[in-house]
Subunit: 676 residues, 2 copies
Amino acid sequence: MRSSPMSGERQGQVRVVFTPSGKRGRFPVGTPVLAAARSLGVDLDSVCGGRALCSRCQVMVSEGEFSKHNIVSRAASLSVQGEAEQKLQLRGTVADGHRLGCQATLQADVVIDVPAESQVHRHVVRKPDEAHDIRIDPVVRFYYLEVPAPVLAAPSGDLQRLQQTLKADWGLDVHGCAFGVLQDLQSVLRTGEWRVTVAVRNSNQIIAIWPGLKERPYGIAVDVGSATMAASLCDLTTGEVLASAGLMNPQIRFGEDLMSRVSYAMMNPEGEKVLTDTVRRAINELVTLVTRQAGVERVDVLELTLVGNPSMHHLVMGISPVELGVAPFTLASDAAMDLPAADIGIQVNRGAHVYALPCIAGHVGADTAAVLLAEAPFDLDAVSLIVDVGTNAEIVLGNRSRLLAASSPTGPAFEGAQISSGQRAAPGAIERVRIDPNTLEPRFKVIGCDLWSDDPAFSERASDIGVTGICGSGMIEVVAEMYLAGILDPDGTIRESADSGSPRIVADGPTWAYVLSEGSPGIRISQGDVRAIQLAKAALYAGVRLLMDRLGVGKVDRIRLAGAFGSHIDGKHAMVLGMIPDCDLDKVSSAGNAAGTGARIALLDRSSRALIEAQVRRIEKIETAAAEQFKEYFVAAMALPHQTDSFDELAKSVQLPGRQATRANQVYQPRGLPNS
Amino acid sequence: MRSSPMSGERQGQVRVVFTPSGKRGRFPVGTPVLAAARSLGVDLDSVCGGRALCSRCQVMVSEGEFSKHNIVSRAASLSVQGEAEQKLQLRGTVADGHRLGCQATLQADVVIDVPAESQVHRHVVRKPDEAHDIRIDPVVRFYYLEVPAPVLAAPSGDLQRLQQTLKADWGLDVHGCAFGVLQDLQSVLRTGEWRVTVAVRNSNQIIAIWPGLKERPYGIAVDVGSATMAASLCDLTTGEVLASAGLMNPQIRFGEDLMSRVSYAMMNPEGEKVLTDTVRRAINELVTLVTRQAGVERVDVLELTLVGNPSMHHLVMGISPVELGVAPFTLASDAAMDLPAADIGIQVNRGAHVYALPCIAGHVGADTAAVLLAEAPFDLDAVSLIVDVGTNAEIVLGNRSRLLAASSPTGPAFEGAQISSGQRAAPGAIERVRIDPNTLEPRFKVIGCDLWSDDPAFSERASDIGVTGICGSGMIEVVAEMYLAGILDPDGTIRESADSGSPRIVADGPTWAYVLSEGSPGIRISQGDVRAIQLAKAALYAGVRLLMDRLGVGKVDRIRLAGAFGSHIDGKHAMVLGMIPDCDLDKVSSAGNAAGTGARIALLDRSSRALIEAQVRRIEKIETAAAEQFKEYFVAAMALPHQTDSFDELAKSVQLPGRQATRANQVYQPRGLPNS
């Protein structure tokens, strides 16, 4: 057997190497590239099964790769373009320099590159806040089929011939078929003249069918919060987010906080039904918004994922939230739920399903499960603390060997509620504050304007939005800065104005208040406001401390702050305030909208569902209300700041460049935590 | 180790033998009988799990069994009755002499009898027409549970604790839970104070839940025919039929026969929907009838089975029947269907499912699958021919090694349609006929009167019901008798009256007719009527012959005639007429309502479902319209009678005692079948 050193052809065979996988093999001349790829297990997409219809199997001939692979790609390595390919290239569906893997056949040794967009199991590259890339392997995939027509001599059901084709062409044993598909099957097969596209879910159930070729299934990740709801529409094939939308939760008219809605449900006949119908209608509205935005038909939405806190989760599902409002705060189920979207009134394709991530415990919801999925602390050796602050703070602590979760009753202060000048994070809200420790004069930033308030151009630039209140992250900063500036005692008392002589400190009944902004409305930080923040941060810290105790660690390796609030707060101020435990500052970061990201992961990567279900089963659920130490930690954590390890460094780091040490450092010795 | 010859006690252990299973073992004194039975795998029922609530585990101490089992049961072999048992005995729930297996404990060597009604896997003894006993092992079973209440320190979902209890108490890994159950779960658990009964389907899904103890699940077997519909309500635990009801299929107003209904569906907008709604409403009416009759609540119906011909099957399922009306007569699916009853609008428990037996081919429906299940020809070495005559004749032929099925287009003559004096089998219809071969005088019987028409008391006794027409089985007999009496030529021509001089033969246009009854209305058998029966019997015979060819047999070992028509026709006359092939007369019998029996088997015995699905998959489907020989056989089978083997014997056997040989025997030599 002889072969030239420059060519691997022997007995009519050619060598092929696929990049980036590096998979290689020998094939007879004339083998289609797609067939070669499949036989080598190369990840090359195809919906139409090699019929030059879907254009998914585009490849490129790599030039100059011969040194690495010892193979030369030559101009004639692949067959010349046929009519089908030329047509698609003219139409622009096949890019210049690309070839259709199902049409091009091997003619000589060649290196073939499979670009990312032609791979089935591609990844979506993570965004800045996200912990990892998302693997794309959706539960719903499309398959184009040419089903044999029935013949009189060998009777068989239409469904059976279709299933046999799925097996023969795609190797899929699909035994299930949605009842609605079965009802339409005969007419669709005949309309499509036996050419149809089926949507197969979990590789085992046909959930939708169309005549002819259909290419793109879409999915929507839905995050239902007590205050706001959000949805992202994704292309299930590419993972791309095509549209996103948010809404206020319309249940707010039945009560600002969850407990008042639960009360509404209990006090009114049909109350639960009203709450359920309201939130389901809002989900449908979100579906309308994102499908319109993306120019996608509702019927092309074939999968949804749902996350939310336990009460929202239960209400969307039509399960009473009443048990979640009373001890022992029992969930109807802490398993994931997977059911037809129509069963909860979501109007998309009638074969579409909703996958709701599992709730973890009565106060730790599917939203936290989603955060967990997005953050994947179970993949790390480092001990992560993940905090998602809302009306409650959901806390997850641990690493690959153990995970613990709890919810701390922080109350709504971090959301700007129950604060005299508090407001939600919206344009006009103060979100950043600095106080000069010498003059006690403040400067601040409001949402919607990128200038500090002491910038000469601020008044003009912020005139449209105004200064309307202070949001949660602003409260964290102002209280921390007030403390650093010596305005607050370590126990949180606002010192009387005589101590500083500053006109910013004014009498407010029997106590004092700090005037942050003198405009109209004036923004004052009252003693009550400081107390509310103290209570909230103490609750959060006590919950974290409890988990650290249970895990047996005195320090966490990294802290991730999730959610809208987590994205806005400054880790340094949070640590000065004693909200979060001691940690290297460069290991404290925002996790962005981790719940939304987790919902999207569950939508795009089928394996993530079993993963999060297993993690939620093994997670240790800690009920703060049942833990004796919680109260003790809570009381101890009321002081400002309650920890010493890195306080000096921290205090320095929040100073503005060139400023002196804080008055707090000069005048007070921080008291530190009680010995515990 | 010593033991007295009369006692097996050793080291505080006693011996126990359970009858009828013969299972035996040694147990510590004080072991409850139920526990001993379970550890030995003895089939002893219990719903409440041994809490003296359900009274299902009743047993008896067998006396005098010591010689067989070498064990003496003595008066004190079991513990004395406690309070719970005495109460139940006073209430009559525990029979005299019976003990509760969960309460009575072993005290000395004993033989314990488990009566049939205390066994889980009992059998229902077959009725005269039925082929075998029915094993009772329903898909839905009840389990009584005492679920642990939730505790704050160890949060877990209500569903998860319930599932853990099912596992701990009953060894069941039930992962599924109907969404409706999940929605009610929390309130039912609390209403029942953590004591609930769950209905579990297929050992893997919770489909219903009640507070407290609930004992009896019910099911309904539904048979949807083109003309009539029937339902039987069964106790799923005992297998007992508690109520049965029938209705005319209200679709009849859209067309007497299937094809006119299919036309209606095609010609009218919403036509299919109207047909579907109509038949579903009728099923709900049947449910109303049988539940009322049995005094059972609709919500206690937890399972249904459905059989019917392909068109009825598809229409009930909301699948268009149009493809079944045109070649190649393609089913949407030839698999069994299992779906929530609510999905096809049947109003029973919302967790109930409908199991529709598989259709076999475009003209061989789920009703034939049910007949197959009832008759079980696949369990026999003997070759069975099973014929179910309706508008089409469904034919199954074979044995344990091979099974074939076909449908022959007999038309509606066997149902009394398209016959001049024809009518359905109903009171007043002539169903039995004898013709004196000498005088050509007839005598007959009508449905609803047990006297022959030549009985002096007949006129008076039949005066209420009258003589209104002739039904299918009457037509078989009259045509056979006309032939035996020499009124008919072998080619089916009615001989002119001059041949016999009988006033019973009268001119009827260019042909002749036989006057069967002179009353009002007069019942005449016209030449057209004879031709209609000839066509029908030729179609049936040709179908049978085709299957025999394919199976490679010249003779069948046994013939079972199914359906209402099959129950009424006389095998002998059918053979004289040449409807069915040669067979020992004592091997020809009625299978009764085999389709209904099959539906009941599928309802009561879960294993029967996999069995019939496997049999239907392996059955060879023969399309008569696609077989060349069919037409040839059909033409050949028009003659009367077309077979010779046992004709003389047969002809003799239909004579009345003491009569002479028939004129047919004297005058004609039967022509027999063409050589083929």
